[in-house]
Amino acid sequence: MKLYLRIWRQKNAQSEGRMVDYELDDVSEDNSFLEMLDILNEQLISRGEEPVAFDHDCREGICGMCSLTINGTPHGPQRLNTVCQLHMRKFRDGQTITIEPFRARPFPVMKDLVVDRTPFETIQQAGGFVTVNTGQALDGNTVPIPKTVADKAMDAAACIGCGACVAACKNGSAMLFTAAKASQLNMVPQGKPEKDRRVLNMVRTMDEAGFGNCTNFGECEAVCPKGISLDFIAKMNRDYATASLKQLLGTPV
């Protein structure tokens, strides 16, 4: 197939970026989207031009590193999918494809299509863990966890931390990400003892990083490659309200 590509090029975090047009011939529909970019880059190198920088690693939809907005949609047109698992058979011959980085104020562009998602790290460092040292654990079957609870926790834990939810949100909100991370631990017995501290610290850190608020549009859920449900945001809001109320009443959390 022949493709017309419009790609965001930006030298570094300090410079201004712009869209640049490229044409690409002979792309197989069995290629993945990132293989298509590999082909473009090989051609650019052979022409003595700078290849397009983009983040990627596992290319099997699980590491969460790839972060492209394709024709305005983070991770592109296929639902429940990452860019690296998107294949060219989802496009048609002669199509124009616009490729931009994940855009959000807390995710500055570092070069071309590469953004800095460090605030996601900071949020998790604030509370995305259970305080348990290596060696302190009880036998794994000491505390039974109902299958329904374990399954629900797994639904939340499936989040790959890619940031598509933020990029899709008109407010640049990280609520879906933070809710997934906090809820996974708040649901299981091991996470209960520090449930309140966790949600307060993670939400505070999220706000400080400059992410916007949630206004329930649900774009985040629509683009999430792992189908993380908005229900987790509701759960986090409940946990947050409970913890805040405790704080208000002077109960230690």
Binding site: S28, N31, E42, S46, C58, Q124, A137, Q190
Partner: protein, 642 residues
């Protein structure tokens, strides 16, 4: 080269307990005087960094990705073994130990493997305590399944995303230490050299992948948890960034490289679709629990719709050849069997490079027996992934699979303390060689990574630190300056060649050579050919490479060029080892050594040793040393999975 394995004396089941008591401790108040550098943030690196941080050491941790959570452990699908015997099916530490030794075709170090089995239960406990959402039964207890090569159900899993969940658990422990200031995390930093100061590993040189800055880091000990080298084949199930550079640089600084030819080909991957492919995708081996593997009996049927081929015209070749293990035969055996039927011309799927390289993995029976819902529950995400990549619905037509390079059992040589022959340089996880012998069993990689990081290295590193005392050298000492200028010179050299070919071109070329001559089956003539081709390719690389851009910026091609340069040297070492090991064992299949039925034929008299290679300069041939494998407990037998 000092290859004292330091395996403790005494009966096998008591070695580790006894050794732990003999290890020196660092006083809690003194731990803050020590700095440990951890390179890599996968299961082994993250668990080690977190555990050492919890103990009170200063830890600096480095990874090349933008977050430690993206290390390739994340992609492991199937599960993690542990000798819990929760299923009451006769499992025990001894059985897990024995299965691992046998699965590795008697080329692993006995004492290390026993320790691995001993700590396996504690890993599950630790992960549960961290909130890892393992699969549960309705009563709330942990669920298990059986996995390739095992006759007991000892594999714990979290849907098809076990590696992800275990890594997120280790990552959460790491995050806690980062938040507490005990671990400093350096993302987008790639290690390009090890600094050996007065004979001890005391530092590393990194390149900041955003700015190009080359920096020196000094510490009291260095941990390499940098994964395997499967990408030497170009196409593998590894992530794009996986590389041998850290391990290879350590080798060039004096660390022995053990059994580099031991690589694992995984039987259940999605077949290659064409020349421009960048990666092979693994379908979890757990699929073999319910899927049946077959090819048409007759070549003429290979292009037919598989659903129209009658039962009597199908060859369920694993069930036929290995009736007791059937579709669950170990990875090396399953892979080679698939290759055999495809070489006979009975492969299915598209023609790539002149042959159909694929076999069917059929779920029709399982869907009939269990219902589609159960299959969706067990493997739904894998079926979705398959459809997304191939455009085919595996619920209504059999999947196509073919073997692909997946894991490397070889790695830097380590003693029982997981320390290389360079004092102070510890090697964990896939980067070391110790536990899997010539073939790794399914669901054992996650176990080993976490065993090393949570339950072995924290003890043994403390012993080393207590013995040498605190005192990291200044980063302007001669050893650091020399290493830093070596790194800088190489970067300049790569950028200055000004040729015509891209780094990827050379990576593809070396991959073709390795897959052709040092892949699933090897022979003397082929390996010798590879040993002639590799130096020529390397010369072409250093004369005709083009790396666009500069060092002082994010430059993915410069990163790739450095990694490919190391693969081009390492490939030769691998071939040398494959040639030197004149026997078949596990994943290393030398065609000269096989039984009449095509099974691997070991030569225990000559080869029950670890081959450890010493670098003797760029112009000299490396020297092969041996660590003899002493089996105190287990008798070496011929593996039989019939």
């Amino acid at each position: 080269m000092n290859l004292d394995s330091k395996v403790p004396t005494g009966p096998l089941p008591q070695k580790w307990e006894r050794h732990k008591f003999d290890l020196k401790l660092v006083n809690p108040a003194n731990k803050r005087k020590y700095t440990v550098l951890v390179v890599g943030s996968g299961l082994a690196g993250a668990s080690a960094a977190a555990s050492l941080g919890e103990l009170g050491y200063n830890v600096l941790c480095f990874c090349y990705q933008d977050s430690p959570r993206r290390a390739h452990s994340i992609a492991a699908q199937g599960g993690i073994n542990a000798a819990k015997n929760y299923q009451n099916d006769g499992d025990s530490i001894y059985r897990l130990f024995y299965d691992t030794i046998k699965g590795g075709d008697f080329r692993a170090r006995e004492a290390n493997v026993h320790r691995l089995a001993e700590v396996s239960g504690a890993i599950i406990d630790q992960c549960v305590a961290q909130g890892v959402p393992f699969a549960r039964e309705y009563g709330g207890m942990l669920d298990n399944r059986s996995f390739g090569g095992a006759q007991v159900s000892r594999t714990f899993y979290a849907r098809g995303q076990t590696g992800q969940q275990l890594l997120l658990g280790a990552y959460s422990a790491l995050n806690r230490q980062i938040g507490l200031g005990q671990v400093k995390m350096y993302n987008r930093h790639e290690m390009l050299d090890v600094v050996v100061h007065d004979g001890h590993a005391k530092g590393i040189i990194t390149r900041n992948l955003l700015t190009g800055a080359v920096e020196s880091w000094s510490g009291d000990a260095v941990i390499l948890a940098t994964g395997g080298y499967g990408n030497v084949f170009y196409l593998s199930t590894n992530a794009q960034g996986c590389n041998v550079t850290a391990a290879y640089r350590a080798y060039k600084r004096g660390a022995g490289f053990a059994n580099p030819c031991f690589t694992q080909i995984h039987p259940t991957c999605i077949p290659v679709h064409g020349e421009q492919q960048s990666k092979l995708t693994l379908m979890s081996e757990s699929l073999r629990n319910d899927g049946r593997i077959w090819v048409p009996k007759n070549k003429e049927d290979c292009t037919k719709d598989p659903n129209t081929i009658s039962e009597s015209d199908r060859d369920y070749f694993l069930e036929r050849k290995y009736p007791s293990f059937g579709n669950l035969a170990p990875r090396d055996i399953s892979s080679r069997s698939a290759k055999e039927v495809c070489d006979e011309g009975r492969g299915v799927g598209p023609v790539v490079g002149g042959a159909r390289l694929g076999v069917y993995l059929d779920f029709a029976d399982a869907i009939g027996r269990l219902g589609k819902d159960r299959i969706v529950e067990r493997y739904g995400n894998l079926f979705d992934m398959y459809e997304s990549i191939t455009g085919e619905d595996a619920y209504s037509r059999p999947m196509r699979i073919y073997p692909a390079v997946h894991y490397t059992m070889g790695g830097l040589w380590v003693d029982y303390n997981l320390m290389s022959n360079v004092p102070g340089l510890f090697v964990l996880g896939e980067a070391n060689f110790s536990d899997h012998g010539a073939n790794r069993l399914g669901a054992s990689a996650l176990m080993q990574g976490l065993a090393d990081g949570y339950f072995v290295a924290p003890y043994t590193i403390s012993d080393y630190l207590a013995r040498v005392g605190p005192g990291k050298p200044a980063t302007d000492s001669p050893a650091f300056r020399e290493a830093e200028s070596t790194v800088n010179d190489r970067l300049k050299r790569l950028l200055a060649i000004g040729g015509k070919r891209s780094p990827r071109y050379f990576h593809m070329e070396i991959g073709k050579i390795m897959w052709e001559y040092c892949g699933m089956a090897r022979n003397e003539a082929g390996i010798t050919t590879a040993l002639e081709k590799i130096p020529r390719l390397r010369e072409a690389f250093w004369n005709d490479l083009r790396v666009p851009g500069e060092n002082g910026e994010l430059n993915a091609e410069l990163e790739r060029a450095g990694r490919v340069a190391d693969f081009l040297e390492f490939a030769e070492l691998m071939c040398r080892d494959a040639l030197d090991r004149d026997e078949s064992c596990g994943g290393h299949f030398r065609e000269e050594h096989q039984y009449e039925d095509g099974e691997a034929k070991r030569r225990d008299e000559e080869f029950s040793h670890v081959s450890v290679w010493e670098h003797r300069g760029d112009d000299a041939e490396p020297l092969r040393h041996k660590e003899e494998l002493v089996y105190e407990e287990v008798e070496m037998t011929t593996r039989s999975y019939k």
